[in-house]
């Protein structure tokens, strides 16, 4: 019995077969639970979350497997259901730097939902990771079919992007103040 359970578990953890064969019922609950943690979906009802659950791509990544590469065109955002993802960036003068390590319930790559600009960093699974992907074509199709729900999501996305912009502005002002105090000629 235990062996059988292990084999099923191994099969599900395998990144290739796990993406094709998965159990539905417990998956749906897990996905809804994860979506509720994400600020983008925080003001949505259960029925609205179920609409998004239908659009979500569930993927399993192995340790060290790349989710997307820096410079490649972005297609969508990812939410970490279970595991750890490192976000790193290549700097010409330096080696590759890890910018952040994201964990359960955190999301990344959300700007790719708005435009096709290349990915600004590389995302890599630090351990066996379950990820939920929401892609631009799905969002656009939702906007066509259910504009209210799509707009609600976009509004929330705009709020979060705006918050980040404000945060970045304040960080830049701090940096500017530091530059002013330092020995750098402007």
């Amino acid at each position: 019995m235990n062996n059988h359970h292990d084999s099923v578990s191994n099969k599900r953890n395998n990144s290739f077969w796990g993406n094709i064969f998965r159990r539905r019922a417990d998956d749906e609950d897990d996905v809804l639970r994860t979506l509720k943690q994400v600020p983008l979906f925080s003001n949505m009802t259960n029925s609205e979350l179920r609409e998004f659950e239908k659009l979500i791509h569930r993927r399993n990544f192995k340790v060290g497997e790349t989710i997307f590469w820096e410079g490649e065109p972005g297609v969508g955002m990812y939410i970490i259901q279970n595991g750890e993802v490192s976000i790193s960036k290549y700097f010409p003068q330096e080696e590759r730097k890890v910018l952040a390590v994201l964990q359960n319930g955190e999301f990344f790559g959300e700007l790719a939902l708005l435009d096709e600009s290349p990915r600004s960093a590389t995302a890599l699974a630090k351990e066996a990771t379950k990820i939920l992907g929401l892609f631009r074509p799905d969002l656009f199709s939702l906007l066509e079919r259910k504009p209210r729900l799509g707009n609600k999501f976009l509004f929330q996305l705009a709020l979060i992007v705006g918050e980040r912009l404000k945060h970045n502005n304040s960080e830049m002002q701090k940096l500017r103040a530091q530059l002013d105090r330092s020995d750098i000629i402007l």
């Binding site: 590469w69 065109p73 297609v75 892609f135 066509e144 830049m172 500017r176 402007l186």
Partner: protein
Amino acid sequence: MTPQQDVFKVTARRKQPAIAAPPAPSTVPPSILEKPEPRHSPSLLIWLLLGGLLFLLPQTVFAAIHLAVTVTCAAVLEPLVTFCTRRRVPRVFAGLLALVLLGAVVAGLFLWLAPIITKEIAKLTAALNASAPEKVASKLSILLVRALPWLRTKSILQQLQAEFMPRIAAFLQAALSFEVAVLSNVISYVLIALGVFYLLHWGEYTRRKVLGALPNRHLEMGALFWEKVAPRLARYLRAQALLFLCASLMLAAALALMGLPGVFIMSVFGALALLTPYCGALAGAIPLAVAGINASNSLHVVFGVILALATVQLLINVFLSSSRFKLEARLQPWEALLALFLGGSLGGVWGVLLAGPLAGLSKIILREALKVRKSFR
């Protein structure tokens, strides 16, 4: 100027040290984060796929035509379904409504056009068979037997067998073939209707399932490919349907003015041929001219038919092809010629008629696939 713009404008000029320190040798081992080179050329795979498709096409022409009709109908009806779902009609009902509408249009057209088509087929068959050498030979033999009755040396039983058995066999064959044809048509319509409904209702679901089967490293590539290709294909198919409608109407008017038989069927064939740019008019002119010359025994008809096709193609090129959707797949002359040759050798008459649209579809798919593949290297 806001502070952040100011910061962006700044170009930091650091105080240079007197002697620049040499850069330290890098001791960092090659990281797993470095992107690997692609292991094989993707073009080989594309060529293999194309070769496989060309090999399989003759065996699957019937299925391919059904699939093409299904996808075109779905693409044409999709805006209607989207319009309904925006007005809060559930997608199932919207799909069914579109399907009922399509069925009503097809049934109406069939009821209206069936008698015309039957008459036209009879006229065209008569016109085409009038000059067939076998027909002439059989007419000659009948005349000879009438003139010289002693040529009939067989017994009455043999004569009965000889005369009636083939007729009975032919009747049975015709009856059976008629039933088989009706059944086959009914199955075709039902399959096409089911396919259209499936694509309208579960198209998105199927797309997600297909994407879900892709390996992780090709997932974004697949999603981007679909995002690029699907709207273009839908626009292209809608544009081809519109072009076909306009061309067939114009051709029907021109052929009716010339007084040719089988105006409806000939205009449909001609319009299908005109969907292939550059050489479509010529490919369409051949069967039309043969039918015309048989019907009227005049060479003027040939020139008239060619003129009509050329004029319609010119009108299409000037007024319709400039619209944005036709430009999705602008075939080069050599591509159109190659498509005609391939279509003719693989799919016969249908292959020639559908060569243009199929080549356009293939070009859109291949071009986008290569673009997407390149952007992911």
